[in-house]
Symmetry: C2
Subunit: 357 residues, 2 copies
Amino acid sequence: MKKQVAVLPGDGIGQEVLNGALDVLKAVEDQYGHEFEIVQGKIGGAAIDHHGTPLPRETLDLCKQSDAVLLGAVGGPKWEDNPVDLRPEKGLLGLRKELGLFANFRPVKTFESLQDASPMKPSVVKDVDFVIVRELTSGLYFGEPRERRGKNREIAVDTLQYEKKEIEKVVHKAFQLASERRKKLTSVDKANVLESSRMWREVVNEVATEYPTVEVEHLLVDAAAMKLVYQPKQFDVIVTENMFGDILSDEASMLTGSLGMLPSASLREDTFGVYEPVHGSAPDIAGRNLANPLGMIQSVAMMLRHSFGLHEEAEMIDQAINEVLKAGYRTGDLSGHEKIHPVVKTDEMSDFVVEHF
Amino acid sequence: MKKQVAVLPGDGIGQEVLNGALDVLKAVEDQYGHEFEIVQGKIGGAAIDHHGTPLPRETLDLCKQSDAVLLGAVGGPKWEDNPVDLRPEKGLLGLRKELGLFANFRPVKTFESLQDASPMKPSVVKDVDFVIVRELTSGLYFGEPRERRGKNREIAVDTLQYEKKEIEKVVHKAFQLASERRKKLTSVDKANVLESSRMWREVVNEVATEYPTVEVEHLLVDAAAMKLVYQPKQFDVIVTENMFGDILSDEASMLTGSLGMLPSASLREDTFGVYEPVHGSAPDIAGRNLANPLGMIQSVAMMLRHSFGLHEEAEMIDQAINEVLKAGYRTGDLSGHEKIHPVVKTDEMSDFVVEHF
Ligand SMILES: CC(C)[C@H](C(=O)O)[C@@H](O)C(=O)O
Ligand SMILES: CC(C)[C@H](C(=O)O)[C@@H](O)C(=O)O
């Protein structure tokens, strides 16, 4: 198989975790005789520094010509006081919007060997395996007006807007995913307060009629925030709007022991996707070979599966990660509440994964 | 001391938990020679059934004439399909707005004796002691427009709006609280995406100059959702807008082992306040004497402290609760992940508290 992959390291630890992930991808290429053409591009702070904008035209074009995108992370203190349009996050948000990536999949699967690292009791996190499907191109993140008002700019407004068809698209994706899994969909909203949530709930109930084998449950976002830490095993697929998805998926990451473990895929109707770890650019540890590359490496596995249909190859990566963790290797973030394992570096961790192929 | 207390049981377990709390209040009255005149009123579903509206004029008047309000809980499946203005929650939201209760205090303090009940590791929840200060009368909950639009009502809109002075008021409250505690304030926003959050952050930094002894930290809401379960001990006072506060405080409740444990106070500039447990009306267990009354009872203690300045009396309640839990008594919600304690009923639990005075 021959594919072009756009690679956007971004800022902070983005480059480091991508280096390891690309080594893993190379090993897959060699072993299975595929050809992945890697083309690098800039996004976020790195793009601001080089091109004066967080999402240069050429980066967007590169992504559009490619079969999939691997993204590191964006952001850092250097650009924090920039005006809104010159902030690294704007590059990421622009990419999602311009490429129409309306569905963000964030799988949360706990590794038995990582129970030490989790702040949760082993009985709570054992066998947790669900996916958060977050709407990614609408809601509070993009709604207009979003502005300051008043004589002295003393009022600030953001808009939470959804169109029915935006909700339909992402809800369909979530139902499809649920029907390939344990057939349970939890839709999260705040229907006792928000108009948009009441419409969200309506749409979920409408779309549900097309998926009679999937059991549907509605949960208020505050209750969901509780249940995620209390009974996380009860979830299979969770679907929710953009802001709630942002908050809940970061919360859920703690079940696995570290945000550094979590991959994500931002998808649309076709096979194209942007794959990135859930973690940020972690400026505090950037450039020190300390970051956990496993979120990024698992994102590569998601790419192989979703964009290229290479299930065996993806499985090999997931297996290798499992083995490496079982063997006791841990990056700093995973050394956890009871520090008992040897701590390895970013590049060592990705080497170990390749060695376990 | 002579005070009038409006008592609004509301729906579901509201009446049960209030019964116990009123017994406790009576015991305080007897022991210290105070006089608390209790006047009952209706709110939520109960008010819809009797008066055709979730917040009858007479309930609002009663609250305005009283020195403080004890509220049970509102809501239930019976009214779930009602039009928005005839839903129980509307009564609660109306009460907050009409009484100008802009600051909601939600203390999260873990009990060592309840570590079994928490889904978290003991090392994580031990000695957790912070307060979430949630803005309660603005933001997405009240912003206009909030409506359906389009030919086929295919668009839904909610508005996240804040005025500077609304933020100032609640942020001042939070700083005052922090200066009486461990002098650390964490302000939670989503300043990398929202206009309202950027203004929120500006205001916090402005107000901070008036409280030079308080250390201020800004945290993005997604990071806060993580840190709450990962390093909850690091918090002292958290201040945040309405919707984020709703989500984060429910999440945080899990640290204590049960939502049933948590009290809250909704306050304004003067000493008046509405005190209610953080939990909801729990229709599934309503009327069965199974609910945990300790959230409600601790709300009574908050009332004695904040509205009446009765610190010794409040302390007596808190101490008694501590003793009862140490003695091993647990309502069902607290029997926890390792069910080892005898399970007691709602009324037994409040009796035990009084017995420990
Ligand atoms: C960087 C930020 C804008 C982004 C978001 O809020 O979507 C990040 O938190 C994420 O979850 O991918
Ligand atoms: C009942 C509901 C409207 C309310 C809220 O969202 O504020 C509740 O969840 C709370 O936290 O007090």
